[in-house]
Symmetry: C2
Subunit: 343 residues, 2 copies
């Protein structure tokens, strides 16, 4: 067993292994990093010594020499409570596992809410991380240009909406395709008056999702005027918006930019004694926990967050290899989790 018993205070070093195996330090180093350079029998001998001593290379020393930390920075944004970023969980977990497969660990950091660059600078200058995964790109992406100018490797979860010419690596989910799926699903169910409740116009993501609904409706020559609403991403706003739409436009179905808004719609329908799922269909976005546990279940667009994580790590792997391999943008398609709220 690994260094049992004795004080665990000083882990074995490369030199200890070397002595035990009767070889030089460099040979041990090679055994770890370039095994093919060793004769098979010495390799075995060294590996045995490594196992017996329970040796793992000291990270700090390795990092110092190789000028790499094998850490990837991830900004853990202040979660606005009530928002459906519970999905973050699914995402981060896959990220951790995938990164580990490539020999990387995730380093979490935070920064002031209002400063999008907060935290990045320090980590970069102290060479604490090799690269970043940037996820806070709802409204533009100043981090991207800044990081690029710093020559810091990074991959973004989110398209460079405000700068289509950007050449950095990114991965995103096709929101429009998601709402198109949702809308077509409702059309298949026989609905024709399908309303949209989304976010305010300054949200790139919101407008993207809206466009999927819009184009699908237009493709069937269905009316959309008066059937759309743009509000804050809260349950109360969704409820209010649904109420107005029900009064004025009499839709038989709703597609929403988020599960939060969809929950608002369910409230509004409940207020009027309308049986949702039977009388009026509702589809949300994000496939949050809420969508899954609400009675009957809420049909919702599900983002392939696991795939996103995998693609992000793949892209990072390219950037961090020598020579770096530039990664193109990747756009993934969401799926639809169908439940009773859509009939």
């Amino acid at each position: 067993m690994a260094w049992s018993g004795r004080l665990a205070l000083t882990p074995p070093t490369l030199a200890d292994v070397a002595e035990r195996a009767g070889v030089s330090r460099q040979t041990v180093s090679n055994a770890v990093n370039n095994p093919e350079l060793l004769r098979p029998d010495t390799l075995v001998r060294v590996q045995d010594a490594i196992a017996e001593l329970g040796y793992s290379p000291n990270r700090a020393a390795r990092n110092l020499r190789t000028r790499a930390s094998h850490l990837i920075g991830l900004k853990f944004n202040p979660a606005q409570e009530g928002t459906a970023n519970a999905a973050m969980d699914r995402f981060v977990h896959t990220l951790v596992e995938t990164a580990a497969d490539s020999g990387y660990h995730l380093l979490l950091f935070s920064g002031s809410t209002d400063d999008p660059l907060g935290g990045y600078d320090d980590l970069l200058r102290s060479t604490a991380v090799d690269a970043f995964i940037v996820t806070d790109t709802y409204l533009g992406n100043p981090q991207a240009t800044w990081l690029t100018s710093r020559r810091a490797p990074f991959v973004a979860f989110g398209r460079p909406w405000d700068n289509p010419g950007a050449t950095h690596a990114w991965v995103d989910v096709d929101g429009a395709a998601g709402t198109q799926l949702a809308t077509e699903h409702l059309l298949d169910k026989g609905h024709t008056r399908i309303a949209w409740i989304g976010w305010r116009k300054d949200s790139f993501i919101g407008e993207d999702r809206r466009s999927g609904w819009l184009r699908t409706m237009h493709a069937r020559d269905l009316a959309t005027t008066g059937l759309a609403s743009r509000v804050e991403d809260t349950v109360a706003s969704g409820r209010e918006a649904a109420s107005v739409l029900l009064d004025e436009a009499h839709p038989s179905a709703f597609v929403c930019a988020s599960d939060t808004l969809a929950m608002g719609v369910l409230h509004a329908l409940g207020d009027r004694g309308i049986h949702w799922g039977r009388d009026v269909a509702v589809v949300g976005f994000d496939d949050s926990q809420v969508a899954q546990v609400v009675p009957g279940g809420l049909t919702s667009v599900r983002q392939p967050l696991e795939e996103v994580a995998v693609e992000l790590v793949r892209a990072l792997g390219g950037l961090l290899s020598t020579p770096p391999v530039a990664a193109p943008g990747v756009l993934l398609s969401p799926t639809l989790a169908v439940r009773l709220s859509s009939g």
Copy 2:
């Protein structure tokens, strides 16, 4: 501005700063780590140079020399989807911020689901982290004894249920106090037949929460026989359990070990056309997002996760200081988020 323009490839070193400030390396090091040793005016001069060059000490070098990484390992467990670990988000975020205040960053790692020790060993041996925060302690805590034997500093979120004699630092939330709050709240509302739906007997946490309900009922000499049920933590199980209880024991209120189970109760009530919140009261546990967005809102016990994070970091600070300060166990009290589901 910090090293603008030129290649960002080689960040400035201590020696660069020393030269620019016209002092020795040692003095710069002191300016950073022991400012009180410098005369005020030289300190300013050095700090100016640091700012001008945009210097941050190289982490790897510092880590190597000081034998510390200023990283704290946190195992990011495979999230069983549907469980209310959306709360993790709130917790982790505070953890990140609080740790940063003490100069620490969080390192995420994962391990095989079945092996509770997975991942810890490697990080420890390669001196990649200074300490761990252990959160996966639902069923016993083998990590604790293992880490203790390795002399690895760590703090646990969760009491050492299976080993009351354990001396390591821990922080936990008083689940019994939470369900007591919930039960008393219902008693105040006039309910006397209050049912319990919890987890199976092998869950320490589940039994703890159950005991809060039990002792409160007994304190008022109210019957509890036939009013309790122990099931899996799923919506379906909660629904089924509630259904049986409604038939056989006719409770007017439910206290549940989780929001998931509480959602199951709401389903069961909905099935029978019982208006929950008016006819029958329901209280959940965790104050998850679901509790907040369900129509009318689900009354739920809220864990002070932010406080937990703060206490964990405080305890770690003690363990990592020299000399180490042993931290006692800390038990925090939850609060009750009252919403319409309890009338």
